[in-house]
Subunit: 252 residues, 2 copies
């Protein structure tokens, strides 16, 4: 058996997320079907991140097993030929047996925010538009409170099924520009990049929803450690919409 | 009568270009209808560039007349509220009587090319994907031959209705990145920015189609002055597709 590793890039806007489900088109389903068509066998693909409906990826990592000796450069071409153009395999390599994509050392997500009166037509699918003026200084201060090892119960949603809610956030950085950047339009867009050893269900979107409440002056930055400590979802902010979120990279 | 100047940004992918036509949705029609709804009168809008079907704009300039004293900041908000999200007015100001958007001093277009095996899902709507390896040195050399005042008959299409085919190209520059840039993906995308005192019908797309033939080795850079000189459309390359083209700015 060969173990094949894929790196996938996708615009999640049209899809019901990664994981196969009834009555909705998912990225996993399309990738499995495309590989199945080329390799002429039933293929099961697992991913580092089961991204939610509407969430994008620049580098999700997936893997599957096959005994088919099909050359990988031909498989790469055939796979991209079958997949719709908003899903691309950017890399396909053979890897060691037992490779499990979700056992990653770290993952980095980017969340993009568009602010001001209107959002650019080129950004609107990849950034959350927040009309009000935000206090970015307070938001950056709040972001720092998430760094380190914490129980993130206050920032997850039911349905994740994780054994523990403890995760370690390594970096949480603010920057200009979005997931994509219109060439003349960077001034009205910014992003937060968050790197951790793992993320709970909806964790990034709940953290960002909370940061925006900080930016609006509704939650003080000094409250964040207390909200984390309380392990109570009701104390944190709302869930930010999915289209501003993009899985940037996964490291092993 | 007031003369109102608008700056418009749009993703042209879904539209049959700027100019009103039967049986197809155009940007002019949507802008005129939205303004008409707010101002409660029939509004006629003219633009600096009647962009073709599928062509984008970061800053097309348009103007209309009205005797309605409606406050502009409210008009701006109402207009963006009515327009679909892939068309935005980024600016709206009162200007001097007799302002005609198409009497511009210069216009700048960007044409984006994606190269390599596949095009990123985030770039595919805004860049022409050319699979073959291109000789960018030759393309840049060829681009220089377009600079200056020339009769561009070899690079226009029937239907423009211009009185003269003479235009002056001020700048023609090559750069990394596209109309929009995915944050991790700039290496497989580049652009040409062309600035002139005016452009003939399909001129940029015909020039880019010709440059790509140069990049493919099918036309030598030294042939470009001869192709210009010949005033014969049949000697130039094919028309590049519209979705790689974006009107960046118009100056007066």
């Amino acid at each position: 058996m060969r173990t094949i590793k894929l790196v996938l890039q996708y615009d999640g806007g049209k899809y019901a997320g990664w994981q196969v489900q009834d009555n909705a088109t998912t990225i996993q389903e399309l990738v499995e079907n495309a590989l199945g068509t080329v390799l002429q066998e039933k293929i099961r693909v697992s991913a580092a991140s089961r991204t939610d409906s509407g969430v994008h990826a620049l580098g999700n990592v997936a893997a599957f097993k096959t005994s088919n000796p099909f050359p990988l450069h031909r498989l790469h071409r055939a796979l991209n030929g079958i997949l719709p153009p908003d899903i691309r395999a950017t890399e396909i390599v053979e890897t060691k047996e037992g490779f499990v994509p979700r056992y990653a050392k770290e993952k980095t997500y980017r969340y993009a925010l568009a602010f001001g009166e209107f959002v650019s037509p080129f950004q609107r699918r990849y950034a959350w538009h927040v009309r009000e003026a935000l206090d970015f200084g307070a938001m950056q201060q709040a972001a720092e409170a998430f760094i380190g090892e914490h129980d993130f119960t206050s920032f997850t949603a039911a349905g994740g099924g994780e054994k523990t809610h403890v995760r370690e956030v390594y970096r949480f950085e603010f920057g200009a520009g979005g997931v994509i950047s219109a060439c003349l339009d960077d001034k009205d867009i910014c992003h937060f990049d968050i790197t951790a050893n793992g993320f709970l269900y909806k964790m990034v979107r709940n953290i960002i929803g909370t940061l925006v409440e900080v930016g609006r002056g509704k939650i003080a930055p000094a409250e964040i450690p207390k909200i984390i400590e309380a392990k109570n979802r009701a104390l944190a902010g709302p869930t930010a919409p999915p289209h501003g979120l993009c899985l940037l990279s996964v490291k092993y």
